[in-house]
Structures are given as C-alpha cells and as structure tokens.
C-alpha cells in the first residue's frame, strides 16, 4: 500500500468511528420516543446491550479467526461454527432431556455448551487445517471454504433432523434457546455473556502482540519464537466462546463478521491487532445499531436486520471471492 494513500492516521479513524458509534447509539435511544423515559431507556438499553455484545463478539472472533487461518475470506460462521453450536445445543437436549437441561443453572448450562463446542470445533477444525500435514502441508483455501460451508449444511440438516425426532416439549426448549433475535433477548443470559466476553477480552488483550506475529503465517511465527500449536489452539478456544455467545444471544449471522473485518482492514490500513480489533468492533456496533435504527424508524418493522445483513454480506463475499480469484 503506497504511503500517500494513508490520509488519516489510525487513531483519527478510531476516534471518528467512536464518535459515530456514540451518535448512533444516542439516536437509537432517543429517536421517536413517546412515553415514560425509564421504560424506554430500559427497553432500548437491553437491545443496545445485546447489539454491542454481539457486534463485539462477531468482530473479534472473525478477526482472530482470519489471523490464525491467514485469510481474509474465512470467518467462523462461513466455516459452520454457529450451526455446530446449534447442533450441540439440540444434541444436549436430545441426549439428556429437556427437563434436565432446562433446570440447569444458566451459567452452568452455558459452560457445558461452550466446553463441548470448544472440544468439538477444536478437533474438527484442527483436523481440517492441519490434517493434510502428510505430503502437501496446506489445504487449498477454496477446498477449506467449500468444506466449511458444506459442514454448515450438514450440521443444519442434522439439527433439523434431530428436532423432528424430539418430543414437542423438548423441541420447545430447544427452539426457545435457538431462535432469539435482537428484540427478545434473555437479560440473565446477557449478563452471563457479558462477563464471559469480558474475561476473554482480558486474556486476549494480553496476547495482542502474539496475534500480530501469528498473522505472519505459521513458519514465520515459529521462527519468531511463538509456540504456534498452543497459540492457535488458544485462539480457537476464544473464537468458540465468542461465537457461542453471539449465537446464543441472537442466532447465526453468517456474513456479518466478514463484512466488518474487511472494512476494518480497509479503513485502518494497519496489521496491528491493537488497532484492527477496536476498529472492527466499532464498525460492527455502528452497523448493527444504524441498521436496526433505519429498519425500525424508516421502514417501521423489526427483526429483519439479519436478513439484510445476509444480503449485503453475501454480495460482499461474492465480490471478494471474484476479485480475489481474478488476481
């Protein structure tokens, strides 16, 4: 990238993004408000909290996932992570019954789900990324992408298969847990998720320089003294936790992470995670809040935000794919 194209310094960009995000949140909280303020603030505040948390989780998990895979077009969602999460949730209910799962403490339940998710996805994606170690060391990117997408289809089909076999009560329990959206967020789960995300972030922030090294690729990272295997495993664990949080709160949003991560690299023009991560988070929150605001106030309806994101994100994905292959 030529130096003269870098017009704004990253700090200015981050400052501008923060200001815009704050503005959008203020507008969301106040625009078109009629009635008692304490109700409105509490009602909209929950939505905002959910959007901030989801935006944060999606942005960070995508950037980290792209760092360890060394690729700007992969995201946890494209690789079928969130369908895996749904399948594991369904499997748990299927295996242990809705009564047991429902009576568990939500924190414990969340812990169990995340743990099984981490183990499963860790094994699966470890095998996928390193399985071709015999002979050719790196699987082709397109193969990985396609395999990820098809795994997503497989998990989704298996989930709906299991849900068909579940008895209706158990099905209700699963459905309740899987089909949330921004308008109907479980406050208790929100608190648990926020704490979990905070913990991950504290650990992750101490690793931010390791991420920069990991982004150089496997061989370079090993040469520079990073324990590559351990670091990648740690990142996979963080990603699984963050994906679980966002999926548990609002359900899967496939292309959103791809969109904000690529935008973040575009506006910040740096490879330092200390800059990229906040930029991606701000962009994610800004997009979600503004999108929801426009949908609610301009078009006058709720809950279709994920569909719009899917559309725009899918177009962006196609564009990146075609342009990337053209080079």
């Amino acid at each position: 990238m030529p130096a003269d194209r870098r017009i704004l310094s990253p700090m200015v960009v981050l400052g501008g993004l923060s200001a815009l995000t704050l503005l959008s949140i203020t507008l969301f909280m106040t625009l078109g408000a009629r009635g008692k303020w304490d109700f409105i603030l509490a009602f909209r505040g929950t939505k905002i909290a959910a959007m901030v948390l989801v935006g944060y989780a999606v942005a960070v998990s995508t950037v980290l996932f792209q760092t360890i895979t060394n690729n700007r077009i992969l995201t946890p969602s494209v690789m079928g992570f969130d369908h895996l999460y749904r399948m594991i949730q369904t499997l748990l209910v299927f295996q242990f019954g809705s009564g047991l799962v429902a009576s568990l403490d939500p924190r414990l339940r969340f812990g169990v789900e995340v743990a099984s998710m981490v183990v499963f996805s860790g094994l699966l994606y470890w095998w996928l990324f390193n399985g071709a170690g015999r002979g050719d060391n790196r699987r082709s990117l397109h193969l990985l992408l396609l395999v990820g997408i098809v795994f997503g289809v497989l998990f989704r089909s298996l989930t709906s298969f299991l849900q068909r076999i579940l008895d209706p009560n158990a099905f209700l329990t699963v459905q309740d847990r899987l089909f949330a959206n921004f308008n109907r967020v479980d406050v208790e789960l929100l608190t648990v998720s926020a704490l979990v995300v905070l913990a991950v972030s504290l650990v992750g922030w101490r690793w931010r320089r390791t991420f920069d090294v990991l982004a150089l690729g496997r061989d370079a990272a090993i040469n520079l003294g990073v324990e590559h295997r351990r670091a990648v495993m740690a990142v996979l664990v963080m990603v699984s936790i963050l994906v679980s949080v966002s999926t548990a709160l609002v359900g899967p949003i496939t292309f959103f992470g791809l969109l904000v991560a690529n935008l973040a690299y575009l506006v910040v023009r740096s490879h330092r995670h200390a800059l990229i991560l906040p930029a991606a988070v701000l962009l994610a929150v800004l997009t979600l809040v503004t999108g929801q605001l426009v949908l609610e106030r301009v078009f006058g309806y709720n809950a279709a935000l994920s569909i719009v994101i899917e559309f725009v994100g899918g177009l962006a994905f196609l564009f990146i794919l075609v342009r990337g292959s053209a080079r």
Partner: protein
Amino acid sequence: MPIATLPLATVGIGLLAVWSLFVGVSDVSLATLFGGAPGGAPDQATQVLLVSRLPRTLALILAGAAMAVSGLLLQMLVRNRFVEPSTAGTAESAIFGMMMVSLLAPEMPVFGRMAVASLCALAGTGLFLAILRQVPLRSPLVVPLVGIMLGGVITAMTEFVAYRQDLIQSVRGWETGDFSAILLGRYELLWLSAALTGVAYLAADRFTVAGMGRDVATNLGIDHRKVMALGLVIVSMTTAAVIATCGMIPFLGLIVPNVVSLVRGDNMRGSLPWVAVMGAGLVLACDIAGRLVIHPYEIPIGTMMGVIGSALFLYLLLRRNGHAG
C-alpha cells in the same frame, strides 16, 4: 461393466418402488387390497393406493431421475463436477419466482407458476454463468462457492420480501423437499420434467461434445451457444417443475452423477440412463427411510438428503483432494 447390470439395477429400483407403495400409516397390504382381511375395507385400501401411494411413488421416481439428470447436464455445461441446481443459484431463483407469483398473481394456474419459476431459474443460472466469466482463474472449487453464495444472496432477497408479506412458511415449504402432500392431481407436472429428461437423452451426444469446451465443440461442428441454451432451458424447467411439485431436493444432482462417473466415465449417452435410475433409487430409498425412522410421523426428504447428501459431498471433496493433491 457387463451389459445386464442396468436392467438389474432397474429391477432393484422397481422393488424399492413396490415397497414404497406399502409403507405408510394407513394399512395397505395385499391382504387388505384383495379383501379377506378381517374388518378390512378393500375399497378404502384401493383408494389410498390409487390416490396417495401410487402418485407419491411415481413422483419420487420422476423427481429423482429428473433432478439427477439436470445435475449431470449442468455439470457438463459448466464443466465442473461440483455443480448442481442447488449449488448454482438455479433452485433459489426458481423459489424466488414461485414467491413472486404467489405475491403478485396468486390466481395463476400451475403451468403459469412454473413458467415464471423457470424464467427466474434461467435468469439466476445466467447470472451465475456471467459471474463465472469474470473469474479468469477457474479453480474448480471456486465455481460451486460462487454458486452457493449467489444462492444465499437470492435466498436473502426472497426471505426479505417473504418476511414482510407473511410468506415465510410457503418459502420454507419450497426449500425443503417433501413428498407427503403428493396426491393424484398434484404431481402431474413432473411428467413434463420426464419429457425434458427424454430430450436431454436425445441430445446427449451434443452435450458431451459441448462439455469439452467451446473451442473443441465449435471445431467439431456444433453450435455451442445453442446447445448451452437448450441445456440451460432443460435444467431450469426441470428444477422449477420439481420445486413447484415437491420442493427442493438438495445435493441429489451432485452426488448421483459423481458416483456414476466414478464407475462409468463421462460419455453422457452411456451414463444418463444410469444417472436417472440411480437418482430415482436414491430418492426412493431416502423417502422410505424418512417414513420409517419416526413412524407414524415422517422426516421430509429435503432433510434426509441434506444429511446424506452433504456427508457424501464432503467425502467426495476430501477424497478428491487426497488423490489430486
């Protein structure tokens, strides 16, 4: 491969079809059909057989054969092994067309609906080909990726409109193939796709040559553009007919031709009957399994094929990598 295997396979499929006639909640067996069963009502059993079971079995055979053949056809035309109507944007576009008809002209007769859906499928597949032309370096895996993504974008459009108009449920119905609502008078559209499959067989040699690429085809004296157009029309109309009747059956057109080509090679005239027979067989087997697993309820074939088809597709992808490096 000995010459007698195809008739043998056909007989096997025939047995599956007969079994399919006798699987279900309502008691239909030889005993009830020909009377003599205590308390059995022979008329009712015959009725169930003629109005529900027979049409369902015929629909399964026709739809399975037609989808498998259109998968093969699309693979020839795009020159890629991993393409089929549900990984090329064709099926998703057809669903978009179906939704627009329900929205704008709900009174339209079924042939009109299918015509609109076919046109949309044709446009979607055309868009897919146009995007592919922008990708000079054709990694074989980019092609299905582009198709799946295009399908995702079109589905998002469909759902956005459907969401506002309360049509989500109809859309879900078209997206998940399901034969449980097939009755006499509700599946006849599929004979049209059978006729189109026949046309594909007659033109099979041309498609084989077209599958070698435009330059080779032109050298061999074939109007490549015309053959492409014919193939795309057949694929679009078949897909639209199947979706209008029983919904989308994912991965069928991908798995069957790939398995057949492993055994039989790529001469379309030789492999097309195999593809048709195996397609019908796979759909019959999946449907019977779906009816038996949670009897007396049933699992729609879209779900069954989603599980089996994606697992097989994964196997094909990873196996191929192991061989080709």
